[in-house]
């Protein structure tokens, strides 16, 4: 049978963000896959170097719309480490609350997206409706549904009141009962089984070899979670389980994420019922000393790593971030091989990809091996030239 190459993306209805997957097909079966990134690159790391520490915090928060708290906390913890600040316990508790609420909303969002990809739109609508309870709780807690901006260097910006605690606890009861319903549904619904079981296989050895992280790695049977392995904030004192599954397929990823929602509810109840008293922030020193720091954080999608270097000036001299999707992309090409073309969107969605978090770009001359810096002006001219060759003239705009 002749082999056919099918490009999936950069613009494709199955992808929520631009990315390119080149699939080599033999009939309906994918025999080889290659991926290409860089369609959503925004240059945030470089932009952070031209902002002061507070301005950079809001910029880093906007790396991702779903795990905005994860990125912001990771960056802020680095700056706090460099300044030698000790975070008050109440501030740590509020960061845990926001982080876990974020995890629940991210997993419910993912469940909806996965359900949509398999054509089970009823589940998609229900899980997104239930996600609204959490979004409302986040709005009450922080003042915004998406970019919470609850962090500040040295603590958090808002305290949590008694009424808010009661309100969040009530919403958690609702989310818990709905999650239990999804678990019941996932075990009974044959449509879900048919589309997810045995699809996108990633054995344990391959997952470890390809440095997968987060729910993808846990669904391949490896109990790795930064909250347990390298506890930060209050996680060392909290009682929760690391959910794993030996299924190594998309069904395992559904299992891990749905049960993680229940674990997050458990964590939230422990923290909300035993809120430490005291201040919510300490004062940031007027000058950030020279130094460097690396922080790991368990974002909803996996391990988030940030590096910050300072030189004693007003701006950070280097900010480097590794979003979990970059670690998980290596596994996608492997998982696609041997599966059907119709399963490709689901396999890609199963890692919960965030292209904008991950995108990076380097221009390297293949012959000399030298890299070069492209300015915005250069890139704009290049794109105008590219479209001119296709007969579209943007130069007058």
């Amino acid at each position: 049978m002749p082999k056919v190459i099918v490009p999936l993306g950069p613009q494709h209805p199955a992808l929520k963000e631009p990315g390119n997957f080149t699939l080599m097909l033999e009939g309906e079966e994918i025999v080889d896959a290659a991926l290409r990134l860089g369609y959503n690159h925004r240059g945030i790391e470089k932009a952070a170097e031209s902002r002061n520490f507070i301005q950079a915090m809001y910029l880093i928060e906007r790396v991702c719309g779903i795990c905005s708290h994860a990125h912001a906390t990771c960056y802020v913890t680095n700056v706090e480490n460099i300044c030698g600040l000790e975070l008050p316990r109440r501030a740590q508790a509020i960061r845990v609350i926001t982080g876990e609420l974020e995890r629940i909303h991210s997993h419910l969002l993912w469940l909806g997206v996965a359900a949509h990809e398999i054509g089970f739109d009823t589940l998609f609508m229900y899980s997104w409706r239930d996600r609204e309870y959490i979004m409302d709780a986040l709005e009450t807690l922080s003042g915004n549904r998406v970019h919470y901006s609850i962090n500040t260097i040295g603590g958090v910006r808002r305290d949590i009141g008694k009424e808010q605690i009661e309100d969040i606890l009530k919403k958690l009861d609702l989310v818990e009962s709905r999650t239990n319903y999804y678990i019941k549904l996932a075990t009974q619904e044959p449509t879900l089984h048919a589309r997810t079981m045995g699809v996108g296989k990633l054995p344990k050895e391959e997952a470890l070899k390809r440095d997968a992280c987060g729910p993808l790695l846990r669904a391949s049977g490896v109990a790795r979670d930064v909250r347990k392995d390298d506890p930060y904030l209050l996680y060392g004192e909290l009682d929760f389980k690391v959910i794993t599954s030996d299924a190594c397929d998309v069904f395992g990823r559904v299992y891990v994420r749905v049960f993680e929602i229940l674990e997050s509810v458990k964590i939230l109840r422990q923290v909300l019922n035993n809120m430490p008293q005291g201040p919510v922030s300490v004062k940031m020193p007027p000058k950030v000393p020279a130094g460097e720091s690396v922080t790991r954080y368990e974002a909803p999608r996996g391990e988030d790593i940030h590096y910050v270097k300072t030189d004693g000036g007003v701006n950070p001299s280097r900010v480097k971030l590794r979003a979990p999707t970059l670690a998980n992309f290596e596994s996608v090409a492997y998982m696609l091989k041997g599966d059907q073309l119709a399963d490709a969107p689901l396999i890609i969605a199963a890692i919960d990809p965030c292209f904008s978090c991950t995108d990076r770009m380097a221009v390297v001359d293949k012959l000399s091996g030298q890299s070069q810096i492209e300015t915005f002006k250069d890139l704009r001219l290049k794109s105008i030239e590219h479209y001119k060759r296709k007969g579209i003239d943007f130069s007058k705009l």
């Binding site: 301005q55 409302d136 915004n144 970019h147 009974q188």
Partner: protein
């Protein structure tokens, strides 16, 4: 155990319940009391320290002194009174990301966050909030 159409009961139940979506814009949307939206400026409280301008992540705020030419007034008893400084604040709503960092930075509480979120306008001038003293 596989049970086909397991979600059917839930689907029928939901057919007879009220919609979960809000009726906005026909019904009024009420954001939470702590919601961060349009920033309000009180010129009488401003001292012109420019901390909000310095910390604004979107460079959306400009604060200008309107009367730099005013000189201190010497009274009959020889007492020197500094001039009352008047400020003008321009907030570019197209740049503002509504993080309310300026509210936190202002130690005189001249800036505060409101719940006005319906900011869309066909008139470009309406997208810049200009507040002048006096």
């Amino acid at each position: 155990m596989a049970k086909p159409l397991a979600a059917l009961r839930e689907v029928f139940k939901n057919l007879f319940t009220a919609p979960s979506t809000a009726g906005y814009p026909h019904a009024k949307a009420c954001p939470d009391a702590g919601y961060r939206a349009r920033i309000k400026y009180t010129p009488q409280l401003c001292v012109g320290c420019q901390l909000c301008v310095k910390n604004c992540p979107a460079n959306a705020i400009t604060i200008t002194l309107l009367n730099p030419q005013d000189k201190p007034i010497t009274g009959e008893d020889g007492k020197v009174t500094p001039p009352v400084r008047k400020f003008e604040c321009k907030i570019d709503l197209t740049r503002c990301i509504f993080c309310a960092q300026c509210v936190d930075s202002c130690f005189k509480k001249a800036l505060c966050s409101s719940q006005e979120f319906e900011l869309a306008s066909a008139d470009k001038a309406a997208l810049t909030d200009v507040t002048k003293a006096g």
